[in-house]
């Protein structure tokens, strides 16, 4: 598979979860393990351009696929507008749900660059945050939409390539 644009390979047990492969084998610990039941969304990564919950994807199922994690949001030392939005609008507190939230937000903005509050709330509704009450996450994603300067679109091409 490729992870954040780099080819990686490894022999794994058939039962190994993608979240554990990323965290333990590749040491990409920005992807978190929160619930095992696809409810919390701290483990969200992209697989072939689509957000998935990596606690319910087997590493073997990701073979040959293109994975993007939070570590792949920053490109050439430049934070993604979503990352900047989370900082500017206080969209995070403990930071545990943040990587998954940001990856879903990036996907939303790639497909809907000017989402309404309702559309943002729908998009992140499969993920749980215990700190922010969601308000500032919504504001952060709106901030990113308003401050993208074409940055997001450029990123989309890179990732989709």
């Amino acid at each position: 598979m490729t992870v954040n644009g780099e080819a990686v390979s490894g022999e794994v047990e058939p039962r190994l979860l993608l979240v554990h492969f990323l965290r333990d084998n590749l040491r990409l610990t920005g992807t978190h393990w929160g619930c095992d039941t696809s409810n919390c969304g701290t483990c969200v990564v992209w697989m072939d351009g689509v957000p998935v919950k990596s606690c319910t994807v087997l590493a073997a199922m990701a073979s040959g696929r293109d994975i993007r994690t939070v570590e792949g949001l920053e490109v050439n030392g430049e934070l993604d507008p979503v990352q900047k939005g989370f900082i500017e609008m206080h969209g995070l507190q403990c930071g545990f749900c943040t990587p998954g939230m940001m990856l879903t937000a990036r996907w939303l903005l790639d497909h809907n660059p000017d989402p309404s509050e309702t559309e943002i709330r729908e998009a992140i509704s499969g993920q749980i945050c215990r700190c922010t009450g969601y308000e500032n996450i919504v504001r952060a994603i709106r901030w990113a939409a308003e401050n993208s300067n074409g940055n997001g679109a450029a990123m989309k091409e890179e990732v989709g390539a």
Binding site: G34, N39, C40, V70, E71, E74, C94, E122, T132, N136
Partner: protein, 792 residues
């Protein structure tokens, strides 16, 4: 001192983006499960499938034969180390691994240490435990029945499930006001068992260095120093050879205060294998075995005159503490600060009686941003006031306004002896009502009711009780609740501040830098915060009960003031004048009447480390420390208004609006305060509408995963509307009060009051949380259910 505008020079209080975010948005946080040490092994816990069962035998031979298993630990082995039982936080004991019997579903029975975490889980399947199932005690109301099974047979002579009786207030005076009252309203209500459920579960990495004998424990703890001392006391480990390190914590909310068996097992595993051992629980383990919150069965009784003057309040509580009494609160207070239940009102008398019982459920009780059970207290009084309003046919806002404490009554001594430090209650309620457009909402509601639509408006006015606490009244296992802080200014004028408390998302790396900056004038960016490492921070009891700002924040302010005072003496030496001739202009001591002659804190810092001859008796360098023993608690407060719509066809509740006016004194960083309030409001919506850990008749936990234990998402939460008033604390050096738990404490009754207000046409007087569609539907039929048991 408390200018809330952000200064252009990045100094002091105001909206500052957080220092910690740079790593979190890059996925570079450092949580316990991210820690990898050379040669590290992995632990997994075998848990009881039964709520109550005798352990007949445990056969670990197959597990031990697993090629990747390094150790299998049972209660019998721990007994040889005197570690099978450890003291609880409430003068009881808890089992690390069950020896005689299991007392709740999910209790720890054995621990496997293996080369990888999958192998450790595999080996759990190879352990053969023979149980003899016993009758469980599930219903707290039947725990003291003569035929109830005795849970704590480990306590010599124990013949029942009784833990304690405790009361506060003047019972006779309260009975007297009930005798003269025109109106008395009584109501049973349950604050169900809920769970803090931080996104990061609990875990630890224990690393015993067999050569130096130094044990390092990386742990999800809100209180690293308290943990270190408890390990030393419990296990007899020398405290200087113990280092507790609390790295980034993925949310705590009180879930990460206590010492869990898993932590102790990781330590024992490391000692036995001489290698680092990591243990991280999964979500089910977190929900089923770690500190739950609430589980208070309350009977409220309120007395008033017929024109709505509240005279007295009495509450009788049956407290379900689970299988071990392991609530985390100051020693003298077995019901936490519940006795602040007279709330924000001017009452003649109040009395509460709390009875604690054991049941076959996980231990805990004080958690989930509860401010030591102020959550339950606020819920009962705010529900009782609404019940009274219903009985008197008065508007709940009018009834509250008539009875709120008036500003001139502060400092106010409550009927149960609390001294509220400061408050301007009517101002906060007026602001909330104005923001909500309260009377317009009532008009809209009347119109909708006429059309058969169900709209509800709920109010809650809360008084928080935080910043525990004065040493003369408060300790945890004998440790006084004072906190230390050290501030050091480097020669070039940059500073480091070392804290006893530990952030779990509250942003201490930013806000404590702001406190030091506010007092010394050193820019926020130039102040580094060190915390979470017992080898490198002063002692203190940690972060919970919204105590960081009122206690540790005060310590930081006092230490910073000592820096400024010392800087004055050094500046005087530099300027060859008397200290009395100098005046402080933030960040600079200057000569009175000649502002051009002065020295900045950076210049003074360098001189303090240089060759300047200092005045007699003054040592060099520019550092200071403080151990702060708060003279009193602080009492933040707020007025909340919730607007809900209930679907008459499905009984589904939608929170349309939520208006929250908070007064926590001056705000260090308004952005962070607002964020804390938002999070607590979401907790309140969750508890009021969704969250509950119930049990079936066999004691099976029905809330053991996030599929069953429902947490609010972005869909259930409205866009919060927040407002503020500012009433400083008279005794905190910067007037600060603390805010972390205010919204969790204050919001549930606002939601519940709103839903019951919507259901008024059905004649519903009360229904217990969570107000799920099923519960609301049943309430509309006049038969609300108990929410602590499987659906009857």
């Amino acid at each position: 001192m408390t200018d809330l505008q952000q200064r252009p020079d990045g100094v002091g209080f105001g909206r500052v983006i957080r220092k910690e975010d740079a790593r979190f948005v890059r996925g570079k946080g450092n949580y316990v499960d991210d820690i990898v040490l050379p040669g590290m092994l992995f632990g997994a816990v075998l848990r009881s499938p039964y709520a109550h069962a005798k352990i007949v035998s445990i056969d670990t031979s197959a597990a031990e034969a697993h090629p990747k298993v390094k150790a299998v630990i049972t209660g019998a082995l721990l007994e040889t180390l005197s570690l099978a039982w450890i003291p609880s936080l409430s003068h009881d004991v808890i089992a690390v691994l069950a020896t005689d019997k299991v007392r709740y579903q999910g209790q720890e029975v054995a621990f496997v240490v293996a080369e990888d975490k999958y192998a450790a889980r595999d080996a759990l399947e190879l352990i053969d435990v023979e149980y003899e199932v016993l009758a469980p005690v599930v219903d707290a109301k039947r725990a003291l029945d003569p035929d109830a099974a005795v849970i704590r047979t480990d306590i010599e002579g124990k013949k029942d499930n009784y833990i304690f009786d405790w009361g506060s207030g003047d019972e006779d005076a309260t009975e007297a006001v009930f005798k003269k009252a025109d109106v008395i309203v009584e109501q049973d209500m349950l604050y169900p068992r809920v769970h803090p459920a931080p996104m990061e579960t609990c875990g630890a990495v224990a690393d015993m260095d067999p050569i130096s004998g130094k044990l390092t424990i990386y742990c999800t703890t809100q209180a690293p120093h308290a943990h270190r001392t408890l390990y030393a006391l419990v296990a007899g480990l020398p405290e200087h050879k113990l280092r507790v390190f609390s790295p980034d914590i993925g949310g705590g909310f009180g879930n990460k205060v206590g010492i869990y068996p898993g932590y102790v097992l990781a330590v024992v595993g490391s000692i036995l294998t001489k290698r680092p051992v990591k243990w991280v629980e999964d979500r089910s383990e977190n929900l089923m075995s770690t500190s739950f919150a609430r589980d208070y069965h309350m009977h409220g009784k309120i007395a008033a005159t017929k024109d709505g003057k509240i005279l007295g309040l009495r509450v009788d509580v049956l407290a379900d503490h689970g299988a071990f009494n392991n609530t985390a609160q100051p020693t003298k207070f077995p019901a936490g600060f519940f006795h602040v239940f007279s709330g924000s009102y001017d009452l003649e008398a109040a009395y509460c009686a709390v009875k604690g019982v054991y049941t076959n459920k996980a231990p805990g009780g004080v958690a989930y941003a509860c401010s030591f059970r102020v959550t339950e207290a606020v819920y009962v009084v705010e529900r009782m006031v609404d019940r009274l309003a219903l009985e008197l046919d008065m508007d709940p806002a009018d009834l509250r306004m008539k009875n709120l404490l008036r500003p001139e009554q502060f400092p106010y001594t409550s009927p149960t002896g609390w001294e509220y430090d400061s408050g301007e209650y009517p101002r906060a309620l007026e602001l909330a009502m104005k923001m909500a457009g309260y009377w317009d909402l009532r008009k809209e509601q009347a119109e909708k009711r006429a059309r058969g639509e169900l709209m509800g408006i709920g109010i809650s006015f809360f008084t928080e009780t935080v910043g525990a606490g004065p040493k003369k009244h408060m300790d945890i296992l004998g440790l006084g609740m004072a906190d230390g802080c050290e501030v050091r200014v480097h020669p070039t004028g940059k500073a480091v501040v070392r804290l006893s408390v530990q952030t779990q998302g509250q942003g201490h790396e930013t806000t404590f830098a702001q406190i030091v900056s506010e007092v010394t004038g050193i820019p926020v960016a130039d102040v580094e915060v060190v915390h979470g490492d017992t080898d490198n921070t002063p002692f203190g009891l940690g972060t919970y009960g919204s105590r960081s700002t009122p206690v540790s924040g005060a310590a930081a302010a006092v230490a910073s003031k000592r820096i400024v005072d010392k800087a004055r003496l050094i500046a005087a030496a530099m300027l060859e004048c008397s200290p009395d001739d100098l005046e402080w202009e933030l960040g600079r001591w200057q000569v009175k009447g000649d502002p051009s002659a002065g020295k900045t804190i950076a210049e003074i810092a360098f001189a303090a480390h240089a060759t300047l001859e200092l005045p007699e008796g003054l040592e060099g360098h520019l550092d200071a420390s403080c151990v702060y023993d708060p003279p009193n608690l602080t009492f933040p407060f707020g007025a909340y208004i919730c607007v809900v719509d209930v679907d008459p066809g499905t009984a589904k509740v939608t929170v349309r609006r939520f208006i929250a006016v908070d007064d926590c004194g001056p705000r260090i960083n308004p952005m962070i305060v607002e964020g804390q309030v938002h999070g607590g409001l979401a907790d309140g919506v969750g508890m009021a509408l969704m969250e509950s850990i119930a049990f079936d008749e066999d004691g099976n936990c029905l809330g053991g995963s996030l599929m069953d234990y429902l947490l609010p998402t972005s869909i259930e939460c409205p866009s919060w509307e927040t407002g503020e008033t500012v009433t400083p604390s008279p005794h905190h050096p910067l007037g600060l009060k603390g805010v972390g738990e205010s919204a969790t404490v204050g919001s549930p009754p606002a939601v519940v009051n709103a839903v019951l207000d919507a259901l008024k046409p059905f004649g519903v007087k009360h229904a217990d949380m969570p107000l799920t569609p099923a519960q609301v539907w049943r309430a509309m039929q006049g038969r609300p259910m108990r929410t602590d048991m499987a659906i009857q």
